[in-house]
Point group: C2
Chain length 338, copies 2
């Protein structure tokens, strides 16, 4: 076991995770198939974002209206000023970011939308083997100076659930699976990551959570490389056990036009969050990232209604009253009734 | 004629403009009616945004799927730091902003979406007559000190057009009407405002204009109060002559599912612009403005398709090839053919 960051091991895990997510979601859908879009910007100019990715999209399945599962591996020769404002030691350092994101927009409004992401960031490592140096025709890089400064790295990730017509049993199962994934790495982590998720996935302009939350962590390296990497794998591997039983349980629930319209309306909140508040989306769009990969998270069909409010006591009001309030779901003594 | 800013005259004009816009759009629709939503936050805490507005929404008309026409009159006792960074003389000053916005989302994809806005901003004026002082139970305001500093004010506004299936004649008519509205105030204004519009309504993450542009101006006070106010009225009054003939000419053009789906897809760009790039929307949402009024601009129904591209040579490709390129439309020798 090593405590030196092993980028290759992270990349291998992330690519396998993308494969297993796609296989399981295709199996759960039963009809839809992913199409793959491989993109490569490794020949970008040195000042631009370089790298590539594999974006996989499933649309119009039997169960899923749209699923995006994206692997990306991007790097740059210089961090933007916003990233180094509080870390002067990183000014001018090369960096690399790898991640897998999944966003699932189901057809049936009784199946919640879900999102997961795991990612790794490293800056200041010797990247000359992984990329032709942009300085190849200029002076040689100061290798001895680079070697003296240890690279800076961290993991991030999490998953969160966005119901339309909620079920207490589903929320409890989701959060218990999340708790089980991170508790082996420390008792304090689950409350901390759960709170961070509630704080992050919040629409301030609506004073409304995006959904029932889950896990969120970032800048995580406190357990050393091996254990931090294992934690990230634990979260990545927990997404399917957290989500798939909910899909299986709700996908055949009958619904009509009323439920469909409410789902389309609530998807508007998803768009609002991603485009107004999500740091990854905004940073990506504003820094020249690949727009189609970043925006694969957007729902396939969305409606906005001016100042719409659910009828008090209705099934739609129940979403706001019961589920869009932060709650200790993992602790709930909810009967796991089907 | 006075050169002292007359807030009452501006407010009166804006309210009349809202009335005339609604009357004309109802007449053009022939079936839909506006419903009015009056909101009032004059009792907000002194540190919050105070004021009120009249939001009017028409939905599911014969011609228009959704129209929002909003008048607002908001004020605060202290400008946010972002607004005073380059104007230290305004630190701690009270301010007031009045405006009318209109956004029209037609049903027929041959009728373009349109947007107009006119607004007035003033800071540092003696506002004790227009609002109960939040200091009423504290020390009296230092009236003499306030009187010594002249208020700072400006006008802003413009209009822009977003076609789905474009017509050269429509774009030329739109821009000629825009040019005729501002040229009486100076020959140089039209090229300047047209360029500012092309620059502003641009989706950097797509490297794509929002539409065919029009007029955009801001921080405008260079003609003194009376002439600057007249310019703003000229722009406000030109919107209907610019837009209504286009609606009248295209609203009965037959269309099918293909055109409808392209319209829904392109509306996604409208959402992306407003939520990612529009300064007014972002400032409003992030500073505690009224979310429903700010987001009335969003289309009623929207779709996103991953990495969709029009077939070369198709009617959809024509939008990108002919209309989503900045062009001197007012100068075009376009036959105004119907």
């Amino acid at each position: 076991m090593s405590t030196v960051p092993d980028v290759t091991a992270v990349r291998d895990y992330l690519r396998r995770l993308q494969d297993s997510l796609c296989a399981a979601l295709e199996a759960e859908d039963g009809a839809g198939k992913f199409r793959e879009d491989i993109w490569d910007r490794s020949d970008a100019s040195p000042s631009a974002l370089a790298g590539g990715g594999r974006t996989r999209i499933l649309t119009d399945g039997d169960v899923f209206e749209k699923v995006g599962v994206a692997f990306s591996d991007v790097r740059g020769t210089q961090l933007p000023p916003s990233a180094t404002a509080h870390r002067p030691e990183l000014v001018g350092k090369s960096w690399q970011a790898l991640g897998v994101s999944v966003v699932v927009h189901p057809k049936n409004p009784h199946v919640p939308t879900s999102h997961a992401n795991v990612r790794f960031f490293i800056a200041g490592q010797n990247s000359s083997t992984s990329r032709p140096s942009p300085l190849a025709s200029g002076p040689a890089p100061q290798a001895s100076g680079d070697a003296a400064a240890a690279p800076v790295w961290w993991f991030g990730g999490g998953f969160d659930l966005t119901p339309y017509y909620g079920f207490e049993a589903d929320a409890a199962h989701w959060h218990r699976t999340a708790r089980a994934a991170v508790t082996p790495f420390g008792e304090a982590l689950h409350p901390r990551f759960k709170q961070a998720c509630d704080d992050y996935f919040f629409l301030k302009h609506r004073n409304e959570p995006r959904g029932v939350g889950g896990l969120f962590f970032d800048d995580f390296n406190e357990l050393g490389f091996d254990r931090s990497f294992a934690l990230m794998r634990g979260v990545g591997d927990a997404f399917l056990p957290a989500y798939r039983p909910i899909v299986a349980r709700r996908k055949a629930t009958p619904f009509g036009e009323r439920e469909r319209q409410f789902q389309l309306y609530r998807r508007g909140r998803y768009v609002e969050f991603n485009l107004v508040w999500d740091r990854g989306t905004l940073f990506g769009l504003q820094s020249g990232g690949r727009a189609e990969s970043i925006l694969m998270s957007l729902p396939p069909l969305v409606r906005w209604d001016y100042d719409w409010k659910p009828e008090p006591g209705s099934a739609e009001a129940r979403l706001y009253d019961v589920f869009l309030k932060p709650r200790d779901w993992a602790k709930e003594e909810t009967a796991d009734d089907r």
